[in-house]
């Protein structure tokens, strides 16, 4: 009986969405048609006025260049979803791979729909007290679609980070709900503080160019909260000792790292949100700082793991590259290559120690290292902008001012992410529950949540 009601209500919701959407839409149509009429007139006037104003046309080319770059960068960031899927499935057991695939695809889909439906305006709408944007439904500004796209794939990334940390034991529905709230509430609001232009952290002078904190730390701290509230996988800790639960395919994991690294060029260099004029060299510079930090992170993690465990560890090296990428994200446009190199080295050291610490001391079970890679390296990277920024950094004669601002930003956003995601996970835990049954977990989520295996 209950089941039928659930089914019916799902179908109902679906219908509602369609009709509601449609109703909304017809209203829009009228507006649009008048706008079109107006635009046509305007366009004709413009055309008439065009020939003498050559500079105008030149700016046109530049605007196209910028839009094109944003679109291409957005496409690269989009592909990071595939990278996350590969890393997360590769670092966990095969019996849960299908579940992870589903979570990642849903992150992307929900992010795409949710951010368009409401999230984008919560983040970028006119600022209400420097805290939140003015929300409006179903964003539809035909001259701003490139930005919507670029921001959408960013939002999807923030949600996806959590997926890896809670892999192998979380209920599918619970996760989907969390992902939705993350994309349309948690992430856009703190994002508003930094990137909307009128946000209170922007006003302070906080630098987080492409989102070490805005995207990665938010995801990382939510991952921490989730991993704690959901608890470790069965068998992870016995007699207070941390056990190894092997990832089932490190080759796919490493392919994922390559894909993420690839996408990161779009993530960081696309965040310039322009490529014309002076931005061109900035973009190229960001590509180099991004690449150097990743390389430095990987090499350092390899060396640290070699010294610490006696062998160059594959998964640590992979995490090192990612940590370097996360750490440079905040400062990729503010530091020089040497700064990026050193930030990468620091991230590579920190990530290995942090994974160790979280796993063995905190006893929080994070199968893919998401908390360390995104949360910790993101925070460190954001702070280090205050040290290595060629304009205003501690080492470049800027004193501690910038560092202080960076610290405020890191803590403010960290607190926001931890508190909000705690509330969400806690409420979900007390209502529909966050964890699958013991039997389901041992048999694998694929079998129970999706009644199918990934490998046959």
């Amino acid at each position: 009986m209950k089941k039928i009601i659930t089914k019916l209500s799902i179908v109902g919701l679906l219908l509602l969405a369609i009709t509601g959407a449609y109703a909304q839409d017809t209203l829009v149509v009228e507006e649009v048609s008048t706008t079109i009429a107006a635009t046509t007139v305007a366009a004709e006037q413009e055309v008439a006025a065009l020939e003498p104003v050559v500079e105008e046309a030149v700016m046109g080319s530049d605007a196209v260049l910028d839009l094109m770059w944003i679109v291409i960068a957005g496409i690269l960031v989009f592909f990071m979803q595939a990278g996350f899927t590969l890393v997360e499935t590769g670092f966990t057991r095969s019996k849960n791979a299908g579940n992870i695939v589903m979570k990642n695809i849903m992150d992307l889909c929900i992010g795409s729909i949710g951010f368009w439906a409401i999230g984008y305006t919560i983040m970028y709408g006119d600022s209400i007290k420097s805290f939140i944007g003015s929300p409006s439904w179903f964003y539809n500004d035909a001259t701003d679609m490139h930005n919507l796209f670029f921001q959408t794939v960013f939002a999807a990334t923030a949600a996806t980070i959590v997926s890896g940390a809670v892999a192998g034991r979380t209920k599918f529905t619970t996760y989907i709900l969390f992902s939705l709230i993350m994309t349309v509430v948690i992430y856009p609001i703190s994002g508003h503080w930094v990137w909307q232009g009128d946000g209170w952290l922007t006003s302070l002078g906080f630098i987080d160019f492409a989102g070490s904190t805005v995207v990665h730390s938010v995801g990382g701290w939510a991952a921490l909260v989730g991993a704690i509230l959901i608890g470790p996988r069965i068998g992870k800790y016995t007699d207070g000792k941390s056990n190894a639960i092997l990832g089932h395919n490190l080759l796919l994991g490493s392919l994922g790292v390559f894909v993420l690294w690839l996408g990161w060029f779009g993530f960081n260099a696309g965040s310039e949100l322009a490529i014309s004029g002076a931005s061109a060299n900035n973009v190229a510079g960001i590509i180099i700082t991004t690449n150097l930090a990743a390389a430095a992170g990987a090499v350092t993690a390899l060396i640290v793991s070699w010294v610490k465990y006696g062998r160059p560890d594959i998964s640590m090296t992979l995490n090192g590259a990612l940590a370097g990428l996360v750490a440079i994200t905040a400062g990729c446009a503010a530091v020089n290559p040497m700064g990026a190199f050193i930030i990468g080295i620091i991230a590579g050291i920190v990530v290995v120690l942090s994974i160790d610490f979280i796993d063995k001391k905190l006893k929080v079970d994070d199968p893919v290292g998401a908390i360390s890679v995104h949360g910790v390296a993101g925070a460190i990277g954001t702070l280090l902008v205050g040290v290595f920024a060629t304009d205003g950094g501690l080492l470049y004669g800027g004193g501690f001012a910038q560092l202080k601002v960076q610290a405020i930003g890191v803590f403010a956003i960290g607190a926001w992410a931890i508190v909000t995601s705690f509330i969400v996970f806690y409420v979900l835990k007390k209502t529909i529950g966050v964890r699958v049954s013991k039997e389901e977990e041992i048999d694998g989520l694929d079998m129970h949540e999706h009644k199918t295996n990934v490998y046959n």
């Binding site: 941390s242 190894a244 465990y309 006696g310 560890d313 998964s315 640590m316 290995v352 796993d359 290292g369």
Partner: protein, 112 residues
């Protein structure tokens, strides 16, 4: 007829196969198993070092006529040997009947 089952190191499989070939035992089945025993192997995964006695091994099952028993065991003992802990085991048991599906032959004739 006897069934000889041997659990050996995967790295010795080449030599074992060659040795069986020498004594003209060109019929057997094998598959990969995980073996638990005295040998321990040290691993590290994401900073957690652990030592496990679950080691990949190869399992060989050979059914021979009684007259072939000794030389086969002999060959296995020689070729699978390295001297280090974990060389593996050989078990012998009785087979009451054997059939070759293709010819419906029974008994020792069905083996070769």
């Amino acid at each position: 007829m006897k069934k000889i089952e041997a659990v050996i190191r995967k790295s010795r499989f080449g030599e074992v196969k060659e040795a069986l070939h020498q004594i003209e035992v060109n019929f057997f089945s094998y598959w990969d198993v995980t073996g638990v025993g005295n040998e321990k192997q040290g691993h590290v995964y994401r900073g957690v070092s652990y030592s496990t006695s679950d080691i990949q091994r190869r399992y060989i099952s050979i059914v021979v006529s009684d007259s072939f028993l000794d030389r086969t065991v002999e060959a296995l003992l020689e070729s699978a040997y390295t001297g280090a802990v974990g060389d593996g085991k050989i078990f012998v048991s009785e087979i009451e009947e054997a059939y070759r599906i293709r010819t419906k032959e029974k008994g020792a004739d069905s083996l070769v």
